[in-house]
């Protein structure tokens, strides 16, 4: 069922296979939390327009790996290069501009409980200093795309898990990111809701966005197939390409 990738754990193989420039590159990255080594010697390349799963058991370091990409935290050692920018040399004040390349769907959604769905999505554009009229237009359009246009005034705590997840997706996509990082986007959803969110991610990928999905939902991976990067205990295990199940 699984077909080992041609290359090693550096996982450059798929990138070269698709012929794109790597938009994400990690060289021997380590991340330490006190005594705990969350990432150990992780090297990885992801080319533009690729769709990649980061998989592995709970505590493997999936969330930590994503954090290294958007400067959620600095790496303890090693280099991360995003779209040609070496993050270890990027001054802190430039971090906001780096983050605008990403649309991030957090494992815990990170929605503001006291603000409406509309405001929660709009915040990503406000942060970029967009004009109010444009913000209104774009937020309406992404809320429609995720099927939440009726709930613009609702507060996140009044929504179901699947609805909150879709708001998080809307916020990630509203700023037209180059890269989407989705951390367990289907984690707490039933099969139907999970599928809906997943189809949205697929759609963004088809429109040319690079997508990284961290998940331990192997059923989901098997169903859709694609390149999989396996993490275990902070180490890159193998990089495999799983062909999609026949319909």
């Amino acid at each position: 069922m699984t077909v080992p990738a041609a290359g090693d754990a550096t996982a450059g193989g798929a990138a070269e296979a698709e012929g794109g420039e790597p938009i994400i590159r990690m060289f021997h990255v380590y991340k330490r939390y006190g005594a705990k080594l969350a990432l150990a010697d992780v090297s990885l390349a992801v080319s533009e327009r690729e769709f990649v799963f980061i998989s592995g058991p709970s505590g493997a370091g999936k969330t930590t790996l994503l954090r290294m990409l958007y400067m959620g935290e600095p790496a303890t050692d090693g280099q991360v290069v995003i779209d040609g920018i070496n993050l270890s040399r990027l001054p802190r004040r430039r971090a906001p501009h780096l983050r605008r390349k990403f649309g991030i769907i957090f494992q815990d959604y990170k929605l503001i409980a006291t603000r409406s769905v509309f405001d929660n999505v709009a915040i990503a554009l406000e942060a970029r200093g967009e004009r109010r009229k444009l913000i209104r237009k774009k937020v309406r359009s992404v809320l429609r795309a995720v099927g939440m246009e009726e709930k613009g005034r609702a507060l996140p705590p009044s929504l179901s898990g699947g609805e909150q997840q879709r708001v998080a997706v809307a916020r990630a996509i509203v700023g037209d990111p180059r890269i989407i990082l989705a951390d367990e986007p289907t984690g707490s959803l039933d099969a139907e809701a999970a599928n809906a969110v997943f189809q949205l991610l697929r759609g963004f990928h088809r429109r040319g966005i690079t997508v990284l999905v961290a998940t331990h939902d192997t059923a989901l991976i098997r169903r859709t197939g694609g390149r999989v990067v396996l993490l275990d205990g902070g180490r890159l295990d193998v990089s495999t390409v799983i062909p999609p199940l026949p319909e």
């Binding site: 959620g72 906001p96 501009h97 983050r99 990403f102 990503a124 942060a127 970029r128 700023g175």
Partner: protein, 290 residues
């Protein structure tokens, strides 16, 4: 960036009681400092009014010839700063004295000869008022040949000026103290606002907001605390001023009492804006490190 203002206002409205208390506290600080300034402005006015009434009496030596007296008049008038010099012959001075002591005229009746000297009453020209200048002129007059002694309200003037200086110093110290107190109160409020928004602040950071963008509403809040507190404090001061004037209106007609001039009110408002900004700055710096 314009959107920072509604963001700031919405936050303030959500915590309106806290913000109201902050504004009132700043207003009280401004009120007290303003009251000091008001006193100082008017004390200065009184001082200069009294200085205007100051005259230097130059008492002449005995047995001066009329010609010398005429020369002296010319010499005194030619001194810079002299507005007017009037000769008061001793006979006239005695007459004045008699008139003043009308009830006890008997005291003077037995005088065999007039004990009073001839004198010049010297008034200052407008532009030459001021404590130091009066003193200087008095010395110059005293040095003239034929002048025995000079007299003016020196001690009294100096004591009053010292009092004004003391008030000025106290006012400045209080101003500094209240500035710090106000900034501290604002800082405390903004710290609470920041704390209540920390989740939002963190999320804004993650979606690519710059620090400046995140901080701006909090600076605006501090500035609003400053402006509103300053305006309220000045308004309170004005109300108190009117009330006092109303209560002592009979005397007020005589005294040149006035409210703070425009530019001083502007200065006080600017100062209170600075209080707000400093408060915001302090708490944002602390929050950034946390």
């Amino acid at each position: 960036m314009i959107m920072a203002i509604p963001r700031a206002l919405r936050d303030m409205w959500a915590n309106r009681f806290l913000n109201l208390v902050t504004v009132v506290t700043v207003a009280l600080a401004i009120l007290i400092v303003g009251a000091f300034t008001l006193f100082f402005v008017n004390a200065g006015g009184l001082l200069s009014m009294w200085t205007r009434q100051i005259r230097i009496m130059a008492y002449l030596g005995p047995d001066l010839e009329d010609a010398r007296i005429g020369e002296l008049a010319a010499e005194i008038r030619s001194l810079p700063g002299v507005g007017e010099a009037r000769f008061i012959p001793r006979a006239l001075a005695l007459e004045h004295l008699r008139a003043e002591m009308a009830g006890r005229a008997s005291l003077l009746e037995n005088l065999r000869e007039n004990p009073l000297p001839d004198a010049f009453e010297v008034h200052m020209a407008e532009a030459f008022l001021g404590r130091e200048r009066v003193a200087l002129l008095a010395d110059q007059i005293a040095a003239l040949n034929g002048v025995d002694s000079v007299e003016y309200g020196r001690q009294w003037l100096e004591r009053f000026a010292r009092l004004v200086d003391l008030f000025r110093l106290t006012g400045m110290a209080m101003g500094g103290l209240f500035f710090l107190a106000g900034a501290f109160i604002v800082a405390n409020t903004i710290r609470l606002m920041l704390f209540s928004r920390r989740e939002e602040v963190e999320i804004m950071r993650l979606v690519g907001a710059t620090d400046a963008f995140i901080r701006l509403p909090f600076y605006i809040q501090g500035l609003i605390h400053g402006i509103a507190g300053g305006a309220l404090g000045l308004l309170g001061l004005y109300a108190g001023f009117r009330f006092i004037i109303y209560r002592v209106s009979e005397d007020a007609g005589l005294l040149p009492v006035r409210f703070l001039p425009m530019e001083m009110m502007g200065g006080i408002l600017l100062g209170s804006m600075l209080i707000g900004w400093t408060g915001a700055y302090i708490s944002i710096k602390q929050f950034g490190r946390a």
